[in-house]
């Protein structure tokens, strides 16, 4: 009898976890493939459905001084004369083995991962991205650390002091934080600390590898203005989550054991309350890397968000496509991490 009442034999749990991870990774890969196909379709198929000819499309890729030869070259190079699935296949192939672009006498080899070649600015897309991803990533990481610390702490304190002045003040500030647009807070911070009292002489990006201290110092203002918004959101989320979990039966059990209140709150309450926050954080963080447009613009940071805006303005499709794919990659990747972290946090997830 002893064994039969055990629904999950101990030996099965490890394989179950492995199966869970494999399933998620596989799902993420499939998702990325779908995203790339959809993006490709949007940029290359939809205009055609809208009635544009291959020549017209190709014209868009050439700079202002388009002559028939260069248009024809681009048409051939980009495979606009090929069926759409061949084009997609070539694009995918380029991602893994690289591709060659020819116009006139020059030939450019675009090494893997080749995200295409911008005929407008005559650059390969990928090096442009690799230059900018660290900026966006640094911005997101620093802001995330700040908003997690501040948001979650404020939320916990608010929940524990529900209805008290501390709670009311915190929630008022949070409401302000959620309501104020980032270009406003960013501009105000900029105006105060860079121009009025020039504590920061420069907020130019310094790579982390070059000088970590400068890296952090120069990014501090963007971090703060971005984190202000997110701290507010996370404070409200944490507060709601804490209020719910602190009413759970297992919290009462923890108290009945004689645990100190701080242990009850952090170990038993917060851990459970953080689970939904982890999910949202994964999505926010992933999304933020490609979309911190406003912050990057306000603080003149050369991140991929700002880059994508520029590319859209210039109608530089290969760049837009590349940025989209990179942004999608980060979102999918962060969600994958969230799924795995989730399984680590909540043992019940592992087997479902």
């Amino acid at each position: 009898m002893a064994g039969t009442d055990n629904p999950v034999p101990a030996t099965g749990s490890r394989t179950a976890v492995a199966a869970y991870i494999i399933r998620r990774v596989f799902g993420a890969l499939v998702l990325l493939l779908v995203v790339s196909a959809v993006t490709f379709a949007i940029f290359f198929l939809v205009p055609r459905l809208g009635g544009q000819t291959a020549t017209q499309l190709a014209t868009q890729y050439v700079g202002k001084d388009a002559n028939p030869e260069s248009v024809a070259a681009i048409k051939r190079n980009l495979g606009f004369d090929q069926p759409i699935y061949i084009q997609y296949w070539d694009y995918l192939k380029g991602l893994f083995v690289g591709a060659d672009y020819k116009f006139g006498p020059d030939a450019t080899h675009c090494a893997a991962p080749c995200f295409g070649y911008s005929f407008k600015s005559h650059v390969e897309v990928w090096p442009q991205l690799t230059e900018r991803i660290p900026v966006s990533f640094s911005l997101a990481v620093g802001a995330a650390v700040i908003w997690l610390i501040f948001g979650v702490t404020t939320g916990v304190i608010s929940a524990l002091r529900k209805g008290k002045p501390v709670d009311r003040i915190a929630m008022f500030i949070a409401l302000a934080g959620v309501s104020l647009p980032i270009f406003f807070t960013g501009q105000v911070i900029n105006a105060l600390f860079v121009y009025q009292w020039p504590i920061w002489d420069s907020t130019d990006y310094v790579p982390f590898t070059q000088n970590p201290a400068d890296w952090a110092w120069h990014l501090l203002l963007p971090w703060i203005s971005l984190a202000f918004l997110f701290s507010a959101l996370y404070a409200r989320l944490t507060r709601a989550g804490m209020l719910e979990t602190m009413g759970e039966d297992y919290i009462r059990t923890a108290r009945a054991k004689g645990l100190k209140e701080t242990t009850v709150v952090t170990k038993h309450g917060l851990r459970a309350a953080l689970t939904p926050i982890v999910t949202i954080f994964g999505m926010d963080f992933g999304t933020l890397i490609g979309t911190a447009v406003l912050t990057e613009t306000v603080f003149s940071l050369q991140g991929i968000g700002a880059y994508s805006i520029q590319a859209i303005k210039d109608n530089d499709l290969p760049i837009v496509m590349g940025v989209t794919l990179v942004a999608a990659f980060f979102i999918v990747f962060c969600n994958l991490i969230v799924d795995l972290v989730y399984a680590a946090i909540d043992p019940r997830v592992r087997y479902s």
Partner: protein, 441 residues
């Protein structure tokens, strides 16, 4: 008294019982080989790796005008069974016949006319009523769904129904949250009665209610049955409630009926060891019996998983009487006594069905350690007494000796011969020694 209100049912419904198609005692619902397996999917491709065999072969019938009680522990499949016979779920196998009509695989459209005749009352009076609807809307909904226009309009009919179940008809426009748990259960009952059903399936109708309210609802169900000639299937885990309300009782274990008998026989002389254990586990509200702990049969461990139920008799892993045959051969649900069907090789209060098999399984020996010696002795005595009597009748009828004359064991006695064997007294000291299991501990 609010429960007394129920008795003063408007005369209008008085003749309802007479207009029923099925005369009392006729079979209203017949179930054969009913199965419901819920698939389990796993792995990358979510392929089916097994099934939860929630209901795994049920045979029973419900007669018009009676109350069939269904008891069992959680996970025995009793609620699934309720949903199958009301066709809220589609059976995986077997057959459900209502008034002679096969309804096993009827679609939504085909079931519609039957929805009037078969109604369900749910356990939780808090979640089974839509909080955004007034009770007038809730109780009147069946009329709208079925397109029935009652005489005098829906509102009047709803108010009549409310008074039938002992609620104030003027509360027509109130919302569920304004009512207590017991009153909400009455609303659920009123809704079930709206279309004058023939069969009402109640899944744990009182288990979410306070003791004092339970009694009100039980009495109400009683009164309504009398007044309206209803047929009930009442599913519950509380054996004392089931005994109070039922005419016949089915005991379920792991998706199977192990015993099906009229109330009297079941409670006075349960035959299946599981029934016996279940009944002995019910705490008796009499402190004087506190020290009479010996009557209790403690079962070992938990109910096994319905994903891979034990072979043979599903109870053999916890039974103190289990022998090899229990592990290998599934006992059939046989009518051993008129009105008492049992699926057991070694029934209590009856002659052993597999007397040649006397060696207890190791699990049974362990299980027996939890059963008081008195219980074992008594069980052996009654079985022996029954056996002795069977043997006596047999001997009188045909005086030929059996092959195993050396032993006085009733090996070949046919179960049919034991019809009047209800004696619980051992005839002689000699029969005591023939008890196959009392000595095996």
């Amino acid at each position: 008294m609010s429960d007394e209100k129920a008795v003063t049912i408007p005369a209008q419904s008085g003749g309802a019982a007479l207009t029923k198609d099925a005369a009392p005692g006729d079979t209203l619902l017949k179930v054969t080989g009913l199965q419901k397996h819920f698939p389990i999917r796993k792995g990358l491709l979510q392929r089916q790796v097994g099934a939860v065999r929630a209901v795994d072969g049920l045979d029973f019938e419900v007669r018009a005008g009676e109350t069939l009680g269904v008891v069992g522990e959680s996970g025995c499949g009793k609620s699934t069974m309720g949903r199958l016979i009301t066709r809220l779920l589609e059976p995986t196998g077997g057959k459900v016949e209502f008034e002679g009509k096969d309804i096993t695989h009827l679609g939504v459209g085909g079931m519609r006319p039957l929805r009037r005749d078969v109604q369900m009352i749910f356990q939780d009076p808090y979640s089974s009523l839509n909080p955004r609807h007034t009770i007038g809307t809730i109780v009147g909904a069946p009329f709208k769904l079925q397109g029935v226009a009652p005489e005098g309009g829906i509102k009047k009919e709803v108010q009549r129904l409310l008074s039938v179940v002992g609620l104030n008809p003027e509360h027509y426009n109130r919302y569920p949250h304004e009512f207590s748990g017991g009153q909400r259960q009455r609303i659920g009952i009123a809704r079930a009665l709206a279309l004058n059903p023939k069969l009402v399936v109640a899944d744990e109708p009182v288990s979410a209610l306070d003791v004092s309210i339970q009694a009100q609802v039980v009495n109400l169900l009683d009164d309504l049955q009398e007044e309206l000639g209803l047929t009930y299937v009442i599913i519950a885990h509380d054996l004392s409630v089931v005994r109070h309300v039922s005419d016949r009782i089915a005991v379920m274990y792991l998706g199977k009926i192990v015993e099906l008998a009229d109330r009297e026989s079941l409670y006075s002389a349960p035959m299946h060891p599981y029934t016996k254990a279940l009944m002995s586990a019910v705490p008796i509200p009499d402190p004087k019996r506190k020290n009479a702990k010996s009557e209790r049969i403690l079962l070992k461990g938990d109910v096994p998983s319905p994903i891979s139920p034990p072979s043979g008799c599903r109870f053999h892993t916890r039974c103190w009487k289990a022998t090899e045959i229990c592990r290998t051969t599934e006992p059939q649900l046989l009518e051993l006594k008129p009105g008492q069907r049992v699926a057991c090789h070694h029934p209590e209060n009856f002659e052993d069905q597999a007397p040649q098999d006397t060696v207890l399984l190791t699990v049974a020996k362990e299980a027996a350690e939890l059963v008081a010696d008195e219980v074992l002795a008594e069980s052996a005595e009654t079985s022996a007494a029954v056996a002795a009597q069977v043997e006596a009748t047999e001997a009188a009828e045909a005086s030929e000796a059996t092959e195993t004359a050396a032993e006085s064991e009733p090996e070949d006695s046919a179960p049919e011969a034991a019809e009047e064997s209800e004696s619980t007294e051992p005839d002689t000291a000699e029969t005591d020694t023939t008890a196959p299991k009392a000595t095996d501990k």
